[in-house]
Amino acid sequence: MSDTTIEKDPNKPVIPVMEREKLILNNRSYNWITERICGILENKQPAIWWMLFIPSVIIAIVGVGGGLFYLVSTGVGVWGNSNRTMWGWPIVNFVFWIGIGHAGTLISAILFLTRQNWRTSINRAAEAMTIFAVVCAGIYPMFHVGRLWMVWFLAPIPNANAIWQNFKSPLLWDVFAVSTYFTISLIFWYLGMVPDLATIRDRAKPGIRKLLYGIFSLGWRGGNRQWSHYEVAYLLLAALSTPLVLSVHSVVSFDFATSVVPGWHTTIFPPYFVAGAVFGGFAMVLTIMIPARYIYGLHDLITMKHIENMAKIILLTGTIVGYAYLMELFVAFYSGAKYEGAAFFYRIAGPYWWAYLAMMSCNVLSPQLFWFRYCRENLWVVMGVCMAVNAGMWFERFVIIVTTLPRMWLPGDWKYYNPSWVDIMTYVGTIGLFLTLFLLFLKFLPCINIAEVKWTLPQSDPHHDDKEALDDQGAESKASYQHELPDTSY
């Protein structure tokens, strides 16, 4: 079936209405969308894909594979940690990746609940990013322990020793939170993909592709009796994920907030971590989506509107984070607790002042550019800021962990911390791993939610044709579900 463009009747009176910005430009047809998105994984990948993929794989294997093998065979000592700084880079990276892993589910879930329809173009990629980020994150706490082979002690399974876990430990909460988060995100992501997998299946020639996509699309038929359940399920998952997202990073923050360490022991941590996570997550989404958009020519699907909205969220969350930073300082000063004050003093002025400076400028200052429409619309600026934020979020964790531990309570044990080359190698390795997984995702899975994007097209409205009678550009461009739902897109 061809393009459904609406030819107008010249005798009809024109009622002038403000043109409403469209989510999908140029009145694309269903088929165009299908072609465009499936094309990405049906056609050969552009050279740039290989140019990114091959190095990523190598880095991942050497960094993660090699690094961890050396670590396990030799001992945690190959990392830079010491009796003074028991948690160094590994936990910094863990929190960093977990943070990144928050945008995806958040975009899908919260924006879905709040009927932000612009999410449809980006949520799939964002969710994928979540999964991969959590995979990277999970590596650290796991390999960070001294006796990897005893890690099963963390699982509450009956044993001959008749001894159990300590359910009061934030670390155990963390184990549960992160694994739950990973599972739910995976389910959410996969369910969302089923109809699209079916699309690919139906386009595929009989063969291995058809077999695999066939299996993973579970025999989806797109009947309304499936759709109605499907939508309820999706709504439920969204409703479950939203508090989950908030909880997970709160629990991660408990690792610090429930301790007695000066500079960690603060009630502001949960909200501040969550905001930070959203902040960093969105930045990461943009950092990977902007190039993807360019490479695969998705300009009509991922419009400036999307990018601008995300820029606004970054601005908002960035400001929240900035507020948290300042609030910490104020509380430390106001509490009059010498040790608390000192902890923050050493963050700002101690041996790691540069980290604090980097954090502040990247996380608090750089997003302020987004006050200006120009900066929100100039992709180079957006890209730049997002890069800065990514770095800044890493530094935030560095500041929290590495600058606090070497200057804690007793000056007698103060000692500078340096990461080892293995630390660095492993971190770079996880970046490689992340890219590898994401590139594979682009190659084999629909990176944009086909069904939902079609859903946002004007003609998807069942009453679309009726309204052809009164020729109302505004109305027609605005699908009926948008009449009925609370309109909060701007």
């Binding site: 001959a160 008749a162 066939g214």
Partner: protein, 242 residues
């Protein structure tokens, strides 16, 4: 176009799911049984250089545990008899028995117990049966001196012609007793009496508890002893791990 997947594939997922459930359940069951000390240790019955017969010595000849395991009530380790402990009797008993060749070698004597010139005494190498891990510090004296019998952990040694590992001796095993010692406590005089039977003992000697009613079962008896001897077994790590 025809269906890509044949019709039988429709039930396949279900079948796979069911199989998985069974496999996983089976593996868990197998692991949780075979990977426990119970399955690993109980029944371990190695050959000894001299097939020493506890049944004979203890049950028939009525020797006391402490004759050979002399440090059981003094030290953490019960101690394995030195060769000359055996020699005390076997210098005269069972002279020249082939079974005792290792003992004679240890004492550096020949068949008719004449010392061999310049013989190097070869100690008897017993094979260890009960062994707690290196990080477990079990103290025999602490237990036997508080009314816990050898039997509680080693089983009916006195009936064993060839000793085997009788109880699991897993941490859970220890905890069971530490949590409910009353099931094992017995009068100090009876600790080394492996034929002891609580009910029988209580029939023979009349024992009353605070309330003045007669104690008849091990449990009540244990409770009484626990109270009299103020026994509070510990469950904290440092009790056994240092």
């Amino acid at each position: 176009m025809a269906n890509f997947f044949p019709r039988w594939t429709n039930l396949l997922p279900l079948k796979i799911a069911v199989c998985l459930i069974f496999v996983v359940a089976g593996l868990t069951a197998a692991f949780s049984y075979y990977a426990t000390p119970k399955a690993q240790r109980v029944g371990y019955q190695p050959d000894q250089p001299i097939d020493y017969d506890h049944a004979l010595h203890v049950d028939q000849l009525g020797m006391d545990c402490r004759y050979c395991h002399s440090s059981v009530d003094k030290s953490a380790s019960a101690g394995v008899p030195t060769a000359n402990t055996c020699w005390n009797c076997h210098e005269h008993v069972q002279k020249g028995s082939p079974k005792l060749a290792p003992l004679r070698a240890a004492m550096g004597v020949d068949e008719d117990h004449a010392p061999i010139e310049g013989a190097v005494k070869k100690p008897i190498k017993w094979v260890r049966i009960h062994k707690s891990p290196d990080y477990v510090y079990f103290d025999h004296s602490a237990h036997v001196n508080r009314g816990v019998s050898c039997q509680s952990c080693h089983g009916d040694i006195h009936k064993m012609e060839k000793v085997h590992h009788d109880k699991s001796l897993s941490m859970a095993f220890c905890l069971d007793c530490h949590r409910a010692p009353e099931n094992h406590l017995r009068p100090l005089e009876e600790v080394y009496n492996l034929d002891y039977n609580a009910e029988k003992y209580l029939l023979e000697n009349e024992i009353k508890n605070e309330e003045g009613e007669r104690v008849t079962t091990q449990k009540q008896f244990g409770e009484l002893l626990k109270k009299n001897w103020s026994i509070h077994p510990k469950e904290s790590c440092a009790t056994c791990h240092r």
